[in-house]
Structure formats: structure tokens, C-alpha cells
Amino acid sequence: MSGYLLRRLLIAVPSVIGISIVLFTVLALAPGDPFEELATNPAIPPEVRANLRAQFGLDDPVAVRYARWFGSMLQGDWGFSFASRIDVDDLILQRLPVTLFVIGMSQVFALAVALPVGVYSATRPYSIFDQIANTLAFIGFSLPTFFTGILFILFFSIYLDWLPFVYRADIAETGWRWYWEHLRQSIMPIAVLGLFQGASWTRYVRSAVLDVIRLDYVTTARSKGLAERVVIVKHVVRNALIPVVTLVALQMPAVFGGAIVTEQIFRVPGIGSLLISAIQANDTPVIMAVTFVFAILVIFFNLLADVLYGWLDPRISYR
């Protein structure tokens, strides 16, 4: 097992380097310039721009810039943002907790919806409940998050005036009011992300449970006279969830991607909105760092999925 892990981690290294090379080249080839605003403002002499470009090393060839970036990255130096001139790791650390909170909560919420609904639908396939759940699930994962986000804002914030739609990371309240305000402003982004994810998981849980529920060992359990609850919870769900766990782990990176849009809509100051504003400002070091973090997350969760699968399903062994 540990040998397998080590091998996987070693394979991950070249893929991370490959990803970084591709990212860097694409960014270097893309049009735009972090000091564009300087160029269009007649009050700023062109020397300032030339000076800044030289200072930040933007005039060197791509290969040299990449080597420099990679070198400092190895020493743990992520560089600094051209727009705000502070260190990129500080920027990301400032934003990460909010993203982790919102994404974490939305995943918990998605599971809380998907598990009971999926299992219940599977135990009563083609019943009214199953039909309704299915329809809603289809609607849920067909609607993109940017659409449901705006829909939620129009309904809950503007029409009903219940919830605020501008997320504020630092709320001036203390004590229980702080929690209350945080909850109020997080409901919509969490619900938007959670429902989208929950909808597809519901379908997945349902089919996984349906696969298992027809197997002989379930019939055996039933014939032993076990209560239906026990059969479902202890015998069926346990086995059905193995592929679901892998799926959840594999989909984590996609969730981070979806969070980018949601963060922008609700003004959640997470790394997603950091990435968007960095792209708008052509702030290469920040774009590099954030996309790199996403790439590492993808690799990590892939590995996690494989390991978890083997741990949950003893039939699989690693060599």
C-alpha cells in the first residue's frame, strides 16, 4: 500500500510540472498586459510602464521567466501580485478559508439531500416520490449555477427581501448575531452549489442502491427476517456507497470550478473571485498560483479517490 502511494506521488510530480509549463505558456501567449491601464492613461509617461515591466521581469523570454518562476516556487516563494504588489501566498491564504467554508458546507448540504432522497427513491422505484425526485434532479443538474444564483437573488433578496446578496467576510457583529448574519448570507451560495451537486448525486445514489438491492445477499438478509430498515442501512447502503464515495472525491475539483462563478455572483471573497479579478487584470503570478492550486487539488483528489476505493472495497488490492 505505502509502495503504491509513493509510486503515485512520484508520478504526480511530472504531471504537476507539465501542468505548470502548459499554464505558463498559455498565459504568456494570451493577449493582455498587467500594465495596460498605464498605457491608455495619457497622464502616465510610457517610461513608468517600461520601468515596471523591467522591474517585474516581464521583458524576458518566456523560458527565462518560467525558469525563474519555477526556481522561486521550489523555494516556497510564490511571487507577488502585479496588481496589489503583495505576496501571492498571503493573498491566497486570505481567501482560502472562505472558499473552503462555502464549498465544504455546500458538499455537506448536497450529501444531506442526495443520500436520503436517493436511497428512498431506490427502495421505491417508479413511485410518485421517485418520479418527483427524478424530475427535480434533472432540473437541478441541467440549470447552471450562474442561472440559479441570479434566480435566487431575484426571489429571496429582491422579491421577498429576506436574505442579503452581498457576502461580507468580516461582519462587525459579535456573539450569536455574528453566527446569524454569517448563516443568512451563506444560505444562498451554499444552496446554489449544494443543490446543483446534490441533484446529480441523487441520481447516482439511486442507481448505485438499485444495483445492490437486487443482489442475492440482500434477499438472504430479508429472508432471515431482518427488519427492512436494517437491511437497507446495514446491508444495502454500505455496499452501494463505495462507488459514491469515489465519485464525491473525484468531483471535488469540479466543485471548485463551479464555485468560481458562484463566488463572483454573490461577491464571496474566495479564491475563485480572486482568480477572476486576476484574469481581468492580467495579473500573471496570481493566475498561475490559483490555477496551480486547482491543479494540485485535482491530482490530490484523484489519488484520494483511488486510495479510498481500495480501502472501502477489500476486493481491490494495490500492487
Binding site: T40, P42, P45, L91, P269
Partner: protein, 596 residues
């Protein structure tokens, strides 16, 4: 309008038969900026008493939190690095200049004890120097006194090439001397009519010497105060998350009595303009939203909820169509649109004149921009409540047809006009932006009726406005016949703005297309007028020169102005926020208050 007529108008103001404000508006209608108009009056001995502040509250604080929404958050808080308005505004909460510009173009003292004039000995008669008296008893937020040393330091800091400050343009041609602890002298290299640039307005915000002096030169990035500003402004720094939130709390030692009104201020960033307008106008979650570039139709609908209003602040940004003077279809020495060529169609003045008549500005205003884009015939602009006497515009397809007929452009079998084997076919480009595409359609339709075929092209904004030398689609390359965009005037004085028609500014391969003259128009008369304005000390003569420059550009159809675009902000119903088109939104934050 010539110098003589201007003098007569000023005499009328002196005699009291014409109000100051009406005079300023008239000048502005003529294509001058309000600050320049105010300067003309001051020079003629009509110095304005400091405009009375409309601030009502009688005690400091008690106004709660002022919540502002910027759909692009501030990313840094050092005014000398602040390129975009978002960063300037974030810095302006904490830092102040010696003086700011109000909506009518008057200088309003902030850290200066008084505005320099010739009468009080502040302005030298030869235009070679200005003496600023600083306000006494002003403290930085950390309790240290504000003195002339700080002012001198800001000049040194901004001009240090290793700092690469974006404010250098306002400081590099001056010398600053300390006369005593609260007086500084700004010395120019040559007679300078526009003296109120350094230490004034956007580029004038002052940073404290004692916190920045150890971080000069290449170390400037490391200064902790870059992120934790210590200024003299009405609010003290609390917290800053780049791109997301700037927070401040009341400065109880502020140098003006009873100010500020609010106990705290928040400037939240991110999102988009429409939802920012919603948060102020519809849900009332926020008090103020900046730069609301939203279709007027939507704004009007949001305002119906009655929670707020749109404030339209006249400035000098102008959406205009440029007609290429050079040939974009022939390559000379590796560049198209080379200044050595002539445009095959636009070299005929009749075609240019017809083109100017085919832009239906009234329709553009009515159907696209509403209150946020006002039809105009001038290039140097402001609200045309009094339209210029020199320039006029009309939309007239029939007349355009007659003009082209008379010039020998005959319609071919396909309805497109031809002369000497050249077809009237034009490529018209702009950036991708819904109102601009509608605008293109309106022009294209009118041209069709006049027998001109227009092909429209739209380029992604990030490419179009980039300075990428390798890309053929940038606006500075101008590889097409006509193009449209908004040019902004970042300074209160039209001096820098109007250099975009000077022959030495022509964008070309040699200057990597960084020259500001995109239309590649050459006019000896214009160049002469511009050179004259650079050293003309008499503001009245100088104004006459700028009017002449504007008229030259319009008479020769170098550009076809479409609409001028004022700044639009969303403001909560009870908030009183004095805004100005010549300075930042927060230029007078100390006077913001909420009505009881």
C-alpha cells in the same frame, strides 16, 4: 468664439449681469473643462470665495456605517501606485491632497490653508512658481504632525525612477522647495499655465514621510504602510483585503470641526455593475455604488423602488468615431495605416462630411444610452445645456446623398457609390460591448441609405485596448477605416487630453504604436495652437486656443463625436454625497452625510 468675445463675457460676470455658474457652463458647452473656466475667472480678478460646503451635521460621528460598493475592489492603497480609479478611491478614504476639484471646476482647499492666487502672492506673475501654504495643526492618523517635509518627500518619492510611481507625470517637471515648516514652493522649468497639477486631486494625495522614507527606491514594495495606510483623511484604517474589502473608522482628530459624519466606512469590492446598482437602488443593502455602467432603461426601472437615485456627474469622457487619415490596406515598411499614406476614400472631404452627417447621435442617445450618454458635436466636452456656437451637428441622409452626388460619387448597380473605380466600402471596428454594437448598426443602416457599404467588426475589449505590439486588432494600430471607443480625460486640464491630435504624437511602428494620435491627422494650425496653449499664461487666451483646437478637429471631421458619457453612481435616498467629474468620487468624503 474668439478672445475678444471671451473678454466681453468675463466683463459681464464682473458687472454681475452673468452669473459665475452660467459662465462656467457656457465655457463647458464650448468644449472647455470647468476647471479651466474657473481659472479664467480667477485670472481676471474674479477669484471665487471658497465654495460654501453643504455639510449640515453639527457634531462629529453618529452617522453609523457608510457602506459603499465598488464592483471592482481596491487592490492597493498607496496613491502613488494607484493606476485605476478603484485604487485611487480606496486610497482617498485615508489620504488627502492639498486641494481637490469640485463639480464646477473650483479648487477646494484640503490640506492647504488657502488656494494660491496672484492676489495672495501664491502665484508668480511669470508663471514659474507656486507657493502653497499648508494648513497648521493637521495630524497624521498616528499623531505625528503634517508639515512641509511631507510635501517635499512626496515629490522625491514620486520622481524616484526606482519607485516607478504612476504619479510621476505630475511631478517630474517640477522642483519643490520647503520655505518654512508650513510653506512649500513649486518651481516649474518653464512658464506653466496649468499649475494646479502636482499635490492636487487624484495625483495629489500625500503620504507620510516618517513611514515611507525607509522604503524608497526598489524597496518601495516592502513598505508595510502600502497595505495599512496612515493618512490625514476623515477615516482611519482598520482592515484591508485586496480586491475585497477596505474598512475604516472615524478619525476623531480630523482637522475640520464636526466632520466626518459616519462612524465607520466600508468599501466592498467584486461582482458586476447591475447587481451593485440593485444593492443600492432596490434592496438598500448599500449606500453608494460606483461607476454604474448599466443601460439607462434598467436603471430607471430599479429606481422605481424608491430606495435610491442615480447621480449623473458630468465629466469629459467622449464616445467618438475616428476616421482614418491613412491607408489601412497598404503596407509600408511593415506597418499598415502608415502616416506616409493617404486614405483612399476619406481623403475626399465630401466623404468625411457625409460620414459626419450619417451618425444619428439623437437616436444613439435615445435608444441606447439615455441619461448616460448625451449626443454632442464637440470633442472636448461637458453638458451641452448651452451648445457651442462654433460647431453643430446634424443627422441628414438626404444632404449626405447630395454631398456625395456633387462630389462625383455615382451609385453603381448594387446601390454602392463608386468614383474612379473606388467603391465606397468601409470597415468599422469597435470593442465587443452591447451598446457599441447597437451603435454600429445604427450607423451602418444610415450609410446604406446613402450608398456607403459599411462592414462592422467587433474585437474583444482585452485585445482591442491592449498595447500588444504583435496584435493587428488593437485600437492604436487602427487597421481599419473607422473605429469607435470612449476616450477618457483623467486630468482637470485639457492640456494632456488634446495632445491626441498633435502631429508628433502619431502612433506608428517607430514608437511601438504608443503615440497618442490614433487618427494620424496632421495639421500645422493645430500644432501651432497646441504649442501656443502650452506656454500661454493668460487663461483667456489659452481657452480661446483650446476652443480653436476643438473646432479644427470637428471642422475637418477628424473624429465624429457621438455622445459624451457622464459618470453614473447609485446613491441611497438619504445620503448626501458631493461628487465631481474632475476628481475621484471620494474627493470630498469628509462632507458626506446622511439626512436625518
Amino acid at each position: 468664439m474668439n478672445e475678444q468675445e471671451l473678454r466681453q463675457l468675463i466683463a459681464k460676470v464682473k458687472a454681475g449681469t452673468l452669473s459665475r455658474r452660467a459662465f462656467v457652463r457656457m465655457m463647458v458647452g464650448m468644449g472647455l473643462t470647468a476647471p479651466l473656466a474657473a481659472q479664467m475667472l480667477a485670472y481676471s480678478g474674479l477669484a471665487h470665495a471658497q465654495p460654501a460646503s453643504a455639510y449640515k451635521p453639527t457634531k462629529r460621528g453618529g452617522g453609523g456605517t457608510l457602506k459603499c460598493l465598488w464592483w471592482q475592489g481596491a487592490t492597493l492603497l498607496n496613491p502613488h501606485f494607484a493606476v485605476g480609479t478603484k485604487d485611487q478611491e480606496g486610497s482617498r478614504i485615508f489620504y488627502e491632497p492639498l486641494a481637490g476639484w469640485d463639480a464646477d471646476g473650483n479648487l477646494v482647499a484640503m490640506l492647504a490653508a488657502e488656494i494660491p492666487t496672484q492676489q495672495n502672492g501664491g502665484l508668480a506673475r511669470d508663471g514659474m512658481s507656486v507657493i502653497w501654504k499648508l494648513k497648521k495643526g493637521v495630524q497624521w492618523h498616528d499623531g505625528k504632525p503634517f508639515t512641509a517635509d511631507d510635501v517635499v518627500f512626496n515629490w522625491e518619492y514620486a520622481t524616484d525612477p526606482a519607485v516607478a510611481a504612476v504619479s510621476v507625470g505630475s511631478y517630474r517637471d517640477i522642483k519643490v522647495e520647503k520655505l518654512d515648516s508650513h510653506t512649500v514652493k513649486v518651481i516649474f522649468q518653464k512658464p506653466t499655465p496649468y499649475w494646479a497639477d502636482a499635490f492636487v486631486g487624484v495625483r495629489g494625495m500625500l503620504i507620510p514621510k516618517h513611514l515611507f522614507e525607509n522604503f524608497r527606491g526598489a524597496k518601495s514594495r516592502e513598505a508595510p504602510t502600502n497595505l495599512k495606510p496612515v493618512g490625514t483623511g476623515p477615516y482611519k484604517f482598520v482592515d484591508f483585503k485586496p480586491g475585497d474589502m477596505v474598512r475604516g473608522t472615524i478619525n476623531t482628530a480630523y482637522h475640520e470641526p464636526n466632520k466626518p459624519h459616519f462612524d465607520a466606512i466600508e468599501m466592498k469590492g467584486g461582482g458586476d455593475a447591475i447587481s451593485a446598482a440593485r444593492a443600492v437602488l432596490q434592496t438598500g443593502e448599500f449606500d453608494y455604488a460606483w461607476n454604474i455602467q448599466v443601460e439607462d432603461e434598467i436603471l430607471l426601472r430599479l429606481e422605481e423602488s424608491g430606495k435610491g437615485r442615480s447621480e449623473i456627474t458630468p465629466g469629459a469622457n467622449i464616445e467618438h468615431i475616428q476616421l482614418n487619415n491613412t491607408d489601412p490596406w497598404t503596407e509600408v515598411d511593415g506597418e499598415r495605416s502608415s502616416a506616409t499614406t493617404k486614405h483612399p476614400l476619406f481623403s475626399d472631404p465630401a466623404v468625411r462630411r457625409a460620414m459626419a452627417m450619417l451618425v444619428d447621435r439623437a437616436a444613439v442617445q435615445k435608444h441606447i444610452y439615455g441619461r448616460t450618454g448625451i449626443a454632442t458635436g464637440n470633442f472636448l466636452n461637458n453638458p451641452p445645456r448651452f451648445t457651442s456656437k462654433n460647431t453643430r451637428w446634424e443627422f441628414n441622409v438626404e444632404k449626405a446623398n447630395q454631398l456625395l452626388d456633387a462630389a462625383g460619387w455615382k451609385r453603381g448597380a448594387d446601390g454602392i457609390r463608386v468614383k474612379d473605380g473606388r467603391k465606397l466600402k468601409l470597415l468599422y471596428q469597435t470593442s465587443i460591448n452591447a451598446p457599441r454594437q447597437k451603435n454600429q448598426a445604427i450607423v451602418k443602416q444610415a450609410c446604406q441609405k446613402a450608398g456607403i457599404e459599411v462592414e462592422v467588426k467587433a474585437v474583444t475589449a482585452s485585445v482591442y485596448f491592449s498595447s500588444d505590439v504583435a496584435n493587428p486588432d488593437t485600437y492604436t494600430k487602427f487597421y481599419c477605416d473607422m473605429q469607435m471607443y470612449t476616450t477618457t480625460m483623467p486630468q482637470a486640464d485639457p492640456g494632456v487630453f488634446m495632445n491626441q491630435f498633435c502631429s508628433w504624437e502619431i502612433a506608428a511602428k517607430a514608437n511601438k504604436w504608443q503615440g497618442r494620435n490614433i487618427t494620424r491627422w496632421k495639421s500645422e494650425e493645430y500644432d501651432k495652437a497646441y504649442r501656443g496653449a502650452e506656454s500661454e499664461l493668460d487663461p483667456v487666451k489659452r481657452a480661446a486656443l483650446f476652443i480653436r483646437m476643438n473646432d479644427l478637429v470637428i471642422e475637418n471631421q477628424v473624429v465624429v463625436p457621438v455622445v459624451y458619457r457622464p459618470r453614473v453612481s447609485s446613491v441611497a435616498k438619504r445620503l448626501r454625497a458631493p461628487l465631481s467629474g474632475w476628481d475621484n468620487d471620494f474627493w470630498n468624503l469628509r462632507d458626506w452625510y446622511r439626512e436625518g
